[in-house]
Assembly symmetry: C2
Homo-oligomer: 271 residues x 2
């Protein structure tokens, strides 16, 4: 048996999330079908974490073990030929048999994209939260987010019912920027056309990135929903830190919608 670690990207729009479910299209089942088709073996494909319906990935890490003579590069191309167009393997490597994508991960980074322009962006509708109620104060959101950095009990930002041994996590980095086309998606096209009309432009996008040693269920979306309360002026910049200190989900803002969320990368020890 050989164990492979794949880095995959997917457009989550058409999927009921990562995890296999009866009678639903999921990314895990798409990957397992592709592996079975190539190797003739039924292998469980395990991910660094589940993503929910509509959530996307740019650098999800998955692994599986099969008997094969195929080298990683060949496997990459073979799987890409089998998966639907909205799932792609972008890197493949052979790893030691004990590799486990959840247990071995040392950090993960997510991106969340908000648009706060008045005019819808037809190309971005499945890849951002379109906040339609006016401009958000991204600088206030960025200052408020600083209160969430570091090692804390994040249970205020965990959807209840998810059993965990501990809800303590360490947030290493939170970056919030407006209108950075290097960070966001598809800014450019409609952004440019619209700005020529003098109505809106690239400044319509707020991109948040957050990195931590791990995330609780719905943690990024709960943090985003909480920061948007600050951005729209409903809460003070100090409030997210107060929410954190309460360790009570009811203290936080609403959960932001899934389609703005992207799993960006998962880091493992080693070179």
């Amino acid at each position: 048996m050989r164990t492979f670690k794949l880095t995959i990207a997917y457009d989550g729009t058409a999927y009921a999330g990562w995890q296999v479910q009866p009678k639903r299209d999921t990314v895990q089942s798409a990957m397992e079908k592709a592996v079975a088709s190539i190797t003739g073996q039924t292998a469980r494909v395990t991910a660094s974490g589940r993503t929910d319906a509509g959530v996307h990935a740019l650098g999800q890490v998955v692994s599986f073990s099969v008997e094969t003579d195929l080298e990683p590069d060949v496997l990459l191309r073979a799987i890409n030929a089998e998966t639907p167009d909205d799932v792609a393997v972008i890197d493949a490597a052979e790893v030691p048999a004990g590799f486990h994508p959840i247990r071995d991960a040392v950090s993960k980074r997510y991106r969340y994209v908000i648009r706060d322009g008045a005019v819808p962006d037809v190309f971005d509708r499945q890849y951002c939260w379109h906040y339609r109620h006016g401009r958000l104060d991204d600088k206030a959101m960025a200052r408020a987010a600083e209160g969430l950095l570091g090692k804390h009990d994040f249970s205020s930002f965990e959807t209840s019912g998810a059993p965990r041994e501990s809800s303590v996590r360490t947030v290493y980095d939170i970056v919030i920027r407006r209108g950075d086309s290097q960070q966001g998606r598809a800014v450019s096209q409609q952004g440019r056309a619209v700005s020529q009309q003098g109505r809106a432009g690239e400044g319509d996008r707020i991109v948040l990135e957050i990195e931590a040693d791990g995330f609780l269920y719905n943690m990024v979306r709960a943090i985003v929903g909480t920061l948007v309360e600050v951005g729209r002026g409903a809460q003070s910049e100090a409030w997210p830190a107060e929410v954190l200190a309460r360790t009570d989900r009811r203290a936080a803002g609403p959960t932001a919608p899934p389609q703005g969320l992207f799993l960006l990368e998962v880091d493992y020890p080693g070179p």
Copy 2:
């Protein structure tokens, strides 16, 4: 009766093109349904030109005439509330009754996006031509394109069967650039993740923009297909100008696929 000029964007993926067809979803029928729903009147919505199935628009211009007391800004928001998420009005203005979006246009600009990376980009699959056979020489393509600038009979680049009074058009500008995130779409996201894997990156995208006083049927896609023959080394840089001089569609390269094409803007006289 009042006449309105709208600038609209659409994701052409789900549509059988612009023009109304029986039993097919088209952008024109989506617009006409929205106008009818708001004004209670059946109005023909006319565009600056038809786009084919799968072709997108960032700045299509359309017009229609109705009896209404609604001001353009109100109309914009009302239509956006009625159209599907993949069609959006980005600008609205009242114009003199004689305005005609085809006849009055003085120039149009299109964008065509090619990806030549080995790894598929799941977020771009409906918004580019993924050329899977190796790197294209974008600089050779740019030099070759210079031979198409100016006033010429472009019938070599016109899909036959389309009746036109004249196939003479003036090409004002052709720009071909690799990996420019300001010009292309969605470069950033997967581009960044992939480049961190050391496999591919933003340089995977070639963006062509072309501006002319008008375009023949399939002209942009035939020009792109011809330039790709140069880019892949099958033809010389001088060849596209030779194709042009032949005034024979059979001389040109294949027609590039529709999903890489975007109608970018349409210009009209006046301030």
